[in-house]
Amino acid sequence: MMLYSLLALAYAFLYLPIVVMIVFSFNASNLVTVWGGFSTKWYGELLHDQKVLDAAWLSLKVAMTSATLSTVLGTLAAVALVRFHRFTGRTLFTGMVTAPLVMPEVITGLALLLLFVAMEHAFGWPAGRSMTTIVIAHTTFSLSFVTVVVRSRLAQMDASLEEAAMDLGARPLRVFMTITLPLIMPALLAGWLLAFTLSIDDVVISAFVSGPGATPLPIVIFSKVRLGVNPEINALATIVVALVGIAMAIAGRVALGREQSRRV
Amino acid sequence: MASPAPRFPWTDPNAAPLIRFEGVSKRFGDFVAVERVDLAIHRGEFFSLLGASGCGKTTLLRMLAGFETPSDGKIFIDGIDMTAIPPYERPVNMMFQSYALFPHMTVAGNIAFGLKQNSLPKPVIADKVKAVLDMVQMGKFADRKPHQLSGGQRQRVALARCLVKEPKVLLLDEPLAALDKKLREQTQLELVNIQDRIGITFVMVTHDQGEAMTMSSRIGVMNAGVIQQVGTPVEIYEYPGSRFVADFIGAANMFEGTVTVDLPDHVTTTCPELEHDLTIAHGDPVTVGTPVTVMVRPEKMAISRDKPAEGLNWAKGSIADIAYLGDVSTYHVLLASGRKVQVLQTNLRHTNEQPLTWEDEVHLGWHPANALVLTR
């Protein structure tokens, strides 16, 4: 019983700050900690803040693109790691795939920016900091997370299914498209969602590789937050939390449905 | 029936049993795992609970160890009610099916673990650990970790870990299930020898009837949470008390029939599946007209081309299948009624001049004393 009280406390610790923030996003008062009645005016103001809207749109584009790219690359990497046990540079490959998972963001960000500067210096591309550089940076670290998710799913998969397909005359590419891919699809979806979340949430790496012309939403929020608590940010944060909540609910429903149909 | 011998404590009505189950039931939600079990196990016994998986035997054992609490009824060990006593204060030790050796401790550490809980002085613990390791012939492996041992060695360590606590009762949950066949048979006899030497009461759960028959002083056959029959291996095999036990232990030919003659030393029954009436000298008390099952073990029947001698029960049929196992052969004989009967024959001679073969016409014969009437 005491154990469950501790668990309840841990959940309170995890959720209370978010709840407080959501409540205060509906506060009519300018003062963040004094309740001045219910209001949705901060949501209205948010809708007229062109800078925020532009940043949100850019973040969405970056997250979609980098999540898709990293899902494709990460899936290929996972297949190579699980199915091919011996190839040149496997150790280096494994290291490079897993290192971004634990690499401090400031280092990754700095390293990528220095690369972009050097590349621009040497080849003239990429010209300055743009959506392109942000997408490349986000794809690089998301790729690792996708690989981990897909790899564990692939490793759990019954290898005899692929063997059965080959035994029945399907060539490797066809086996992958008709047997393997459908079976690991839930992992691909989970990986995509994870990559999307990581991208749309990233501050530090974006701060290094974004420029004046391309500022994603977290950077805008960060610069506002540094100036202190602001009810408009509460409103924005609430929208983000709500969107993530809805996305998770849908993903959960999809995963559950798939799991059930698999059992039949 | 089996002749009573005074050295078997369960035949002495005045002996106080070491373990007593009194109306013990265990329910998990709607599921009844164990139903109103009354059972007495005596000091020095090697008692086996035998049954298919899910029959409640393991639940019964776990209640004895204290890991499950009975929903109803009481369990006594040495006359003391165990209901409120937690597992760590019970005078019993359990050898787990998985062995449950602590993976982060050495063999010696595992064995010393239980003694440390009794706060024994260190030199005493060391002596006891060494002695028990020698007894199970694992002295050389004291500093190994469990994952460095073979299955058989782990089994010995698990046994030693229990024995060193000198419990009143040692509980064994499928102790040999993880071993391969040859090692299992060897270990069966070893376990019996150890039990003989130290005299601790063993209660074992197993689904393997050969194992139960080989090792036990008595067997409790369980089905669907109920103990069907308790008896020595001979009693259980030769005189099963019910159709279930007859069918579960070994192979049996069973014929449904009705009693036509009831005399003190035998009964006569008619069975629709057999042409001739049967004479049977053993079984449950019956009266004329009682519907009964007649049970004959396959090895108790003789098979030959000739008609059996007068006074034997007999039937006629043709051989449908032969399973040749080397030492013995099992013949499946098809009777005129369409009923198939199993007969087991020892292959006594190297070569048989005229071996029985498929579709041969044969006679089956068995003595009245080798059949049993069952009513339950």
């Binding site: 900690t33 400031v106 280092i107 | -």
Partner: protein
């Protein structure tokens, strides 16, 4: 498409991508950390050049590293990072262990949902979750209001802009990283081991100390490293919740790069941070490789 060529084509894209955007950037950091700072774009001098007589000349500048050792500020930031990340790791362990234990021992049907509840905040914005604490911790914030109302304190505590706020923020942000690996080891623990301990006369709390705790050590190590490593390099949390004197190595790197525009020193700080984290990262990678190997 099969055989060697097929394999090559499957692995190539990700391999090439990682070499180009992960491996090479690190070599560049290493290179720039050895270069002399300069005023210009890029703000550093090349490592080698050809002079008039076509002699290759190297300009290796170890000065960037020397200044790291020489300046107390860097040393302080370095150790302060370890200290704050260490305390936050301990905080995560103290909250996360009972939580993971409770989830692992709850009815099997609940476990997935309870675990999801732990992981869910991770899916909402990290920045926003850190931001939420500003409103709670600041002098006129909710925590102080609550404590004042309860009469525990008579005037607001200065929590925001202290190391304590940073530790709270880190504990909060990284708690899921601690709970998940702990849960994984606690959940797969063979419960018959605890029954065996009880059977051998061991009371529940002693059985916890003698069996459960040592067996969950891999989870404790993995969880602690997963919290400690990112916490050491953390920038956002000390920047938002910490004060001007809350020096951490991530903040120093940021300041050198963005404020001082000293790219060589920023690179040297990054290399120094990597050296600090190399051992913990290797432990994590080895554990991961071992787990993969066992699965196969």
């Amino acid at each position: 498409m099969s055989g060697r060529l097929g394999r090559f084509l499957v692995g190539l894209p990700a391999y090439a991508w990682l070499v180009a955007f992960f491996l090479i950037p690190f070599l560049i950091i290493l290179k720039i950390s050895l270069s002399e700072p300069a005023a210009g774009i890029p703000p550093y001098l090349p490592l080698w050049s050809h002079d008039e007589v076509e002699n290759l000349r190297f300009h290796l500048a170890f000065g960037n590293y020397l200044s790291l050792f020489g300046d107390e500020l860097y040393a302080f930031a370095y150790f302060n990072s370890i200290r704050i990340a260490g305390i936050a790791t301990l905080g995560c362990l103290l909250i996360g262990y009972p939580a993971a234990y409770a989830i692992a021992r709850s009815p099997a049907a609940w476990r997935q949902s309870l675990l999801l509840l732990v992981a869910l905040p991770f899916w909402t914005s990290f920045l926003i979750r850190v931001y939420a604490w500003i409103g709670i911790l600041k002098p006129e914030g909710l925590l102080n209001a609550l404590l004042l109302w309860l009469g525990v304190i008579s005037e607001p505590l200065q929590i925001l802009q202290t190391d304590l706020a940073v530790i709270i923020g880190m504990t909060y942000s990284y708690l899921p990283f601690m709970v998940l690996p702990l849960y994984a080891t606690l959940e797969k623990m063979d419960l018959s081991l605890l029954e065996a301990a009880a059977d051998l006369g061991c009371r529940p709390f002693r059985a916890f100390l003698a069996v459960t705790l040592p067996l969950s050590m891999p989870g404790i190590v993995a969880g602690s490293l997963l919290v400690f490593i990112p916490a050491v390099g953390e920038y956002v949390i000390p920047d938002l919740l910490g004060g001007p004197d809350t020096l951490m190595i991530g903040k120093v790197l940021w300041a050198e790069f963005f404020d001082n525009r000293d790219w060589p020193v920023a690179s040297a700080v990054a290399v120094a941070m990597l050296v600090l984290l190399v051992a913990p990262i290797m432990i994590i990678q080895n554990a991961r490789a071992k787990a993969e190997g066992r699965k196969r």
